[in-house]
């Protein structure tokens, strides 16, 4: 029995970002295997829920005729179900039917004709979840994009894979959407959404998830124009009043999804945050920064 603890970190490009997985345990071989299994979970989510991959569940659903039942993976069904619940709880701010609007703005690729300009259909009305992992869409124009939630779900599934190997402590970080577990506090720097070259603050998290949203950022090209892919569901235009949001929650799926709700609703998102026992930091376009009381109480900003 080896007594020395091994801590390994690995990184792969997946989900359109860099996924870093860190794990610690007694046996280096077991730690390495656990990280492989965790990446496999991320890769599986990527394969099932990619908007770009023509074989993904999402693409098959988007190609389906209205009323045609499609069998999807249990994981996809999970995410669709939670997405529709989030849509209800957030009064329509969280909307997986955002794809046509993103396509019109050139933020998602178009293999089919871009749909005519119309308000985003509510996914709860456009998609029907049937028994036996079957899903069908009711509206022909409906195209699903799980980009606002799949990354968080992938982080949660990766953490679950690490737990399956008895890993004592670890961090899964998918391009800034992350979850940490174990005895140690993990210090996370939060990037300033107004200027990615600066960090706004640091927070310490433990047995929790943290996700952030803001304009997309390219680590290799700072001068590239940055665009915000979060749209207001009623207007179909990019959000303006808020330029960045970070949310802490017990699962990364919820944290990831709620960053979009906070970006869209601003300070009015408090009810939804409380419903999910989440806390948030919000950077307004005016430069003002606000945090929820729970955020301030849960972790004093580490210096």
């Amino acid at each position: 029995m080896k007594s020395v603890s091994s801590r390994l970190a690995r990184c792969r490009p997946l989900l359109g970002t860099f996924v870093e997985i860190t794990a610690a345990g007694q046996d280096a071989d077991v730690v390495e295997k656990s990280i492989e299994a965790a990446f496999e979970a991320v890769r599986r989510v990527h394969h099932l829920m990619s908007f770009h991959d023509p074989d993904s569940d999402v693409s098959r659903l988007n190609r389906a005729r209205p009323g045609e039942a499609i069998v999807v993976d249990a994981w996809t069904r999970d995410v669709l179900e939670i997405s529709t619940e989030l849509e209800r709880t957030s009064k329509g701010s969280f909307n997986i039917g955002v794809a046509p609007a993103l396509q019109r703005l050139g933020l998602l690729p178009c293999s089919q004709e871009p749909p005519p300009a119309l308000a985003m259909p509510a996914a709860t009305a456009a998609i029907e979840l049937l028994a036996d992992k079957r899903v069908c869409k009711r509206e022909p124009e409906c195209r699903v994009d799980l980009g606002g939630i799949a990354k968080g779900y992938a982080v949660d599934r990766a953490v679950e894979a690490l737990h399956g190997y008895g890993i004592q402590g670890g961090v899964v970080n998918a391009g800034g959407d992350l979850a940490a577990f174990g005895d140690e506090d993990q210090v996370v720097a939060i990037r300033d959404p107004r200027d990615p070259a600066r960090s706004l603050c640091r927070v310490a998290i433990k047995d929790a998830a943290l996700a952030s949203s803001g304009p997309t950022f390219d680590p290799l090209d700072w001068s590239a124009p940055r665009r915000c892919a979060i749209l207001h569901p009623r207007t179909g235009a990019s959000v303006r009043g808020v330029c960045g949001a970070s949310v802490r929650a017990s699962s990364c799926l919820i944290a990831d999804a709620l960053t979009k709700v906070v970006m869209i609703q601003g300070v009015a998102a408090l009810d939804v945050l409380e419903h999910y026992k989440a806390s948030a930091l919000l950077v307004m376009a005016s430069g003002e920064v606000a945090v929820t009381g729970a955020w301030r109480g849960a972790y004093a900003v580490a210096t």
């Binding site: 970190a9 490009p13 996370v188 720097a189 952030s212 803001g214 920064v289 009381g293």
Partner: protein, 179 residues
């Protein structure tokens, strides 16, 4: 009932000074090779130096510019049996570099992509190009001053587009020189 609290950030300046760059070496070349091809008994160097026609062909097939004179390639072998190719590549931004490896099956399908070394600046020094220029092409053990406390950054979504484009270029290299 919780409310929002206005928050000012007096720490920004201090953090910009103490956290100049986030750099991690995940894997050495040897470790990445073993991870990608656990069954391999040896890795034979098969480095490629481009001929002028190769560069044109790779650019045409991949749609990506070729900025190097060649590519570091190893054949993963079990005895004499070819298990695949291990290609070490870089994506280069204005100031930062990411080292990564593409492992291919013998028929050219991507087996996996691993990041070997990642560097990212998020301190105030990014504004000074000459400060950053010293890191280009260097490995982390050389000169990087890494803030050990910070391993994680959350913020605007990071794009791995450049790596995706690099993999396209590596696949074109396979078509032109390894197939």
């Amino acid at each position: 009932m919780s409310t929002w609290v206005r928050w000012s950030a007096p720490l920004v300046a201090a953090i910009a000074l103490t956290a100049p760059v986030h750099a991690v070496q995940y894997l050495t070349i040897g470790a990445a090779q073993k991870l990608a091809f656990p069954a391999a008994t040896r890795f034979a160097e098969a480095h490629v130096v481009y001929r002028p026609a190769d560069i044109a062909a790779i650019q045409r097939i991949s749609g990506q510019p070729v900025r190097t004179r060649g590519e570091q390639v190893w054949k993963a072998l079990a005895g004499d049996r070819l298990l695949g190719f291990f290609i070490l590549d870089y994506v280069i931004g204005k100031h930062l570099v990411i080292d990564y490896a593409v492992s291919l099956e013998p028929d050219g399908r991507v087996r996996r992509v691993d990041v070997l070394e990642y560097r990212e600046a998020y301190g105030g020094e990014i504004r000074n190009p000459s400060w950053l220029a010293q890191f280009v092409g260097k490995r982390s053990e050389s000169v990087l001053e890494v803030n050990k406390d910070i391993r994680n950054i959350s913020g605007a979504t990071l794009s791995s587009r450049h790596v995706t484009e690099g993999v396209k270029r590596v696949l074109a290299l396979y078509e032109v020189r390894l197939k």
